[in-house]
């Protein structure tokens, strides 16, 4: 089948990443006590769930040639808002559902604002979402009065703490988001338009693609996913914490880049992003278990990002060509 042929470069890159992950796992299994245990593997899955959810949305954003720096702050804002809403629900009410609706609504609204500034007012994605980063963080603190919002109804903790079939619920959320994300990007009209808009915004616009709407929608969906991630985290913590999610945007972008998505837009896959997330999750976990100094861990992550970027360059995938701006 011909689709496979075209995807071969992507497959090759994914294959390298998978091999690297396996090699990494083998090394840690030998040097880090307890790394290979089932409990630890589940622990790794849980630790990457929240950034993984965010990375799926970020992949779409970066595919359009954009960036979203606000997701870490949105995790805090949506988690805090959801916790406050849940706390306000009278005993016996559906606090969990209310929290879900509030988190997703707040995230989506923030995303729509990002999208409107970027797609219609032509503010650069970096700047627009940098502004949202500080605004959302400030709003989270004002909303909560600077305190964690705890003492929540039990139903609030289901999404983060339930363990169906021995696997924590956030892992299921991540898996579902990843599958839906991959389907949307690969198989739908919208997904194709995301790739086209990132690959060449001007040509796409002249081919009849509503590039502004595509970009708007991508940021709106990314905000929505940030809401889902924010609720998942708050639910796991059992509280809405206004200073949670700090610097998540950087971890998320790192996972997407390591997964082979080009910052120039138009190239990348969800599968790559998942492997990028797993690779970094395994690295962090293994280095922890091997008692490596956390500061050294930071350096290791930086080196991984550089290697991924250089590999991308060498493979000729990010040509730095068109798609860095947003079409009119």
């Amino acid at each position: 089948m011909s689709v496979r042929e075209r995807l071969s470069w992507q497959r090759a890159a994914d294959f390298v990443l998978i091999l690297a992950t396996i090699a990494e796992a083998i090394v840690f299994a030998t040097i880090a006590p307890g790394f290979g245990s089932v409990a630890n593997l589940i622990n790794i899955a849980l630790s990457i769930a929240v950034t993984g959810i965010l990375a799926v949305g970020m992949t779409a954003v970066i595919l359009t040639g954009g960036i979203d720096l606000s997701v870490g702050s949105l995790v805090a804002l949506t988690g805090t808002a959801a916790a406050m809403a849940a706390a306000a629900v009278p005993r016996g009410g559906a606090a969990g559902i209310v929290a879900l609706v509030v988190a997703i609504a707040v995230g989506a609204i923030a995303g729509m604002l990002n999208g409107s500034f970027i797609a219609y007012l032509r503010v650069q994605p970096f700047v627009a979402t940098l502004a949202m980063l500080t605004i959302a963080r400030g709003a989270a603190f004002i909303l909560s009065g600077g305190r964690s919002i705890g003492n929540l109804p039990d139903s609030f903790g289901v999404l983060g703490r339930a363990v169906p079939f021995g696997i924590p619920a956030p892992v299921y959320v991540f898996a579902a988001v990843a599958m839906i994300g991959a389907f949307v990007l690969n198989r739908t009209v919208f997904g194709r338009r995301v790739y086209a808009t990132g690959g060449n915004p001007e040509a796409s616009w002249l081919a009849g693609v509503g590039t502004q709407r595509v970009i708007w929608l991508v940021y709106a969906l990314n905000g929505l996913l940030a809401g889902l991630a924010g609720l998942t985290l708050a639910s796991r913590l059992g509280a809405g914490v206004p200073n949670s999610g700090l610097q998540y945007e950087l971890d998320v972008i790192a996972a997407v880049v390591v997964g082979g998505t080009s910052l120039a837009g138009g190239r990348g896959t969800i599968v790559g992003t998942i492997w990028g997330t797993v690779f970094i999750g395994v690295l962090t976990n293994g280095l922890n278990l091997a008692n490596v100094d956390p500061y050294v861990q930071k350096i290791a992550l930086g080196v991984v990002i550089l290697i991924a970027a250089i590999g991308d360059r060498v493979a000729g995938r990010s040509t730095g060509g068109p798609g860095t701006g947003h079409g009119s």
Binding site: R192, A196, A207, G208, V209, G321
Partner: protein, 498 residues
Amino acid sequence: MQVSARDLVKRYPGVVALDRVSIDVRGGEVHAVAGENGAGKSTLMHILAGATVPNEGTLTIDGADVQFRSPRDAQSRGIRMIHQELNLALDMTVAENILLGAEPSRAGVVNRRAMHEKARAVLDRLGEHRLSTRARVGNLSLAARQMTEIAKAVAADASIVIMDEPTAILAQEETDALFRVIEQLRQDGVGIVYVSHRFDDIFRIADRVTVLRDGCLVDTRPLAEITRDELVRLMIGRELAAGYPRPSRAPGDDVLVVDRVSSGPVRDASLVVRAGEIVSVVGLVGAGRTELARAIFGAAPVTGGRMRLAGAPHAPRSPADAIRAGLALLPEDRKRQGLVLIAAIRENVSLTSLPTFAHVGVIDRRREHASVARWTDALSVRTPSLEKEVRQLSGGNQQKVVLARWMLANARVLLFDEPTRGIDVGAKADIYRLMRRLADDGAALLVISSDLPEALGMADRVVVMREGRIVATLDRDEALAERVAALMLGESPMARGA
């Protein structure tokens, strides 16, 4: 000073841009360089200015061999080029720009007063007493910016100044001012290389003219010994090549009606394209041809006039609107505007028509592939697989991919902007055949081409644009190359009689 170029050859992949061209430029003369688009003027200028290194040939200054590896080399020998898109720092003052890199300074600290005095002296020498040295360049008119650029060359003691279409951005009075400055430079012994399409300018200011055509030197003549008609003939030269496919049907109803439309530089343009007809739009660069096509396609705002498409009012607010109405645009810059280069052939062809293969937003890949293959086969796109990235295709095949997209989208009115630019000769014939077949099938084609023989060869009718206006609409039989060229250049028979 005299700069002489001998037998310059510049090859680019697949094309010889300059083929054994020689030119002498003397101090104290204005030497015009004329030719159609693609004649090799800009390559020649860039070689003289050090921006392009020739494959063969020699450059001498006053008899001594020189080699330029960069514009800096040329500048150090007194040769400066003034680009059409002026190279100025917009946030700096006139004085800072004029003395950029040569600021009077002591121990690295710029002496601002000396800088302004020096800049003032240069401007005064050019007769530009009104331009303030303290003005921010970004706030100035294009004419004043151009003057700043010229002053920069003078401040650097340039002996040869190359000007690329300097009057293209100027109004009439500004042109007069520029010519006074050029006259001043000539009297000071500076040699001017003056590249222009405008015959009025050339005959008014130049001492000699060198004509290029298809990368070759046609002739160098003193202006005193040449008439306008001769110059047109030297520029166009070629006989119209035979072999353009002819229509096999009579034109049908009016499909596209453009009625006094204004948009950007386009003023009150009116034209009609009928079913089964190919209408060529010819004109110089900047005549407004591309802008007209973009306005029809909804890619540029229409500021006046009306359009009708297949009998219905046509007022697209975006390309998507125009496409729904049955329009297609094959843009002039295929790589930048026509294609997503890093995407597959299949994805490029289906991009516009995706919803037709989708059920609730989900694409049926088998139907997509089959539909795309039908058109790439019909247009004989040569590729082993539809999954190949389009950047790997030749120019001709890329154009066919764009065309396949519009066929699949069922376009009935096709706007071709420079359909064969960057396409080799064999593939051109292919494109011509396809265009004629579309017309014979009842489509309406509007074709913009700077290749005059092509534009006239393909056309059933010819629309001539000049400076944003449509100045003539000619039937095929009336559209003789020299007449069309004269109209394009503003040399209408009436004006000549006056």
